[in-house]
């Protein structure tokens, strides 16, 4: 595998396009790219740091509109190609002026980015609100102030078991000689508009594990998923809602 990697890098100089796709296959690391949306500057700084410290690449924007613009989903610039954009997770505040996190969630779920998990953050623990968001397709709901343990847990159950989800997207469907030691299940081919992310700073995968006894994700992982396209997602939102409400 390493040999393939070196081979492709050497040849890269000669045939750039052809071997562009070989590289990511052989890279064991894949940095998770998170788009964080929050109108509060302080919160943006904190969430960015929380995500970076858990080895994520982060892009922050201050509104739902800016988020849509970044994703190329705003109506004005429909001609913008998003081939190079790869977002693995969107985390958004609920209460924002103009477009709320809920509005943003709906827009994303109705777009070509619908497969990207969306997590809602809110300072208010309103069950009806949590309910609404989960039913609209939110992956999870975090209560503010967000803690390091929350982010670690999120990253762990969303990405650590599924590290090669990204590698299978888009152009390359070649089967890998197995390099993942985490999970025996084959990664799902989830349809995605974005291409592979050739991170220039490969970071070691997060070694954190959910430390809280309330890490319900582990107990839910054996449930049959309700998401049709992605069999590696943990569990149904409503199941998770029940667990959250027990935790509260």
């Amino acid at each position: 595998m390493a040999r393939n990697g070196m081979f492709s890098r050497r040849r890269r100089a000669e045939k750039v396009e052809e071997y562009d796709e070989l590289l990511p296959l052989t890279e064991a690391t894949h940095e998770v790219h998170v788009l964080a949306v929050d109108d509060s500057l302080v919160d943006r700084i904190v969430i960015e740091r929380l995500l970076k410290i858990t080895s994520c690449k982060v892009t922050t924007v201050d509104s739902g509109m800016r988020a849509l613009k970044y994703l190329g989903l705003d109506e004005e610039e429909s001609s913008v190609t998003i081939d190079d954009l790869k977002v693995d997770l969107i985390i958004t505040d609920y209460c924002m002026p103009g477009m709320t996190g809920y509005d943003l969630l709906k827009k994303i779920k109705g777009s070509s980015f619908r497969e990207v998990p969306v997590v809602i953050m809110s300072s208010e623990n309103v069950l009806a609100r949590i309910d609404r968001c989960l039913e609209e397709g939110a992956e999870d709901f975090l209560l503010k102030p967000v803690k390091l343990a929350d982010v670690k847990r999120l990253k762990s159950y969303m990405f650590n078991e599924d590290r090669f989800r990204g590698e299978e997207k888009g152009m390359n469907k070649r089967k890998l000689p197995e390099s993942s030691s985490d999970d025996s299940s084959t990664p799902t081919l989830s349809p995605s508009p974005s291409s592979l992310d050739l991170s220039s700073t490969p970071s070691p995968p997060s070694t954190s594990s959910p430390s809280s006894p309330k890490a319900f994700s582990s107990s839910l992982s054996t449930d049959s998923p309700t998401h049709s396209t992605d069999s590696s997602m943990p569990s149904s939102p409503t199941r998770r809602l029940k667990m959250i409400s027990q935790d509260l």
Partner: protein, 156 residues
């Protein structure tokens, strides 16, 4: 004095922190911020807190100018400022400031101008106290870093 003061300064810092926790000025979210500080981001806490101060002072100015207006009636706008203040205070662990904002918000929701004025005064007081104490904390931290640098000078 410098090199020998490291431990004493660390003690001072811990004592001040303990006091602030005891007084309910700070809560565990402040400790979360400290967890986010490391070699790659060695001044994270003071950076975030300084931004919090800037944002807070803007909010306080807005709140005061709203209330000082004799024809003031835009409680909704005040609520928006308060929500922001509550959110950012919560994010850095400024518990007492946050609680005063919450009480302030209640007065605002009741369109209680007098209650709001009282709450604003209390808020300004709490905010001042927090700012002074955090500045003190950062100062001690700076001194400790300097003292440690002197004690363990970098060898070339």
């Amino acid at each position: 004095m410098l090199g020998l003061g490291v431990e004493r300064l660390r003690g001072d810092m811990n004592r001040l922190l303990a006091l602030l926790f005891h007084q309910g000025v700070l809560d565990e979210q402040f400790l979360q911020l400290q967890q986010l500080q490391d070699e790659s981001s060695p001044n994270f806490v003071s950076e975030v807190v300084n931004i919090y101060f800037q944002e807070s002072e803007k909010l306080l100015r807005n709140l005061r100018s709203l209330l000082m207006d004799r024809e003031f009636s835009d409680y909704k706008k005040m609520g928006v400022h308060l929500n922001q203040f509550i959110g950012s205070s919560s994010s850095i662990g400024a518990k007492r400031v946050r609680n005063v904002c919450v009480a302030f918000r209640v007065a605002s929701e009741q369109n209680n101008r007098l209650g709001c004025l009282r709450a604003l005064e209390l808020l300004e007081h709490e905010y001042c106290y927090l700012k002074n104490k955090l500045h003190e904390l950062f100062q001690i931290e700076q001194q400790r870093l300097l003292a440690a640098a002197v004690r363990y000078p970098v060898q070339h």
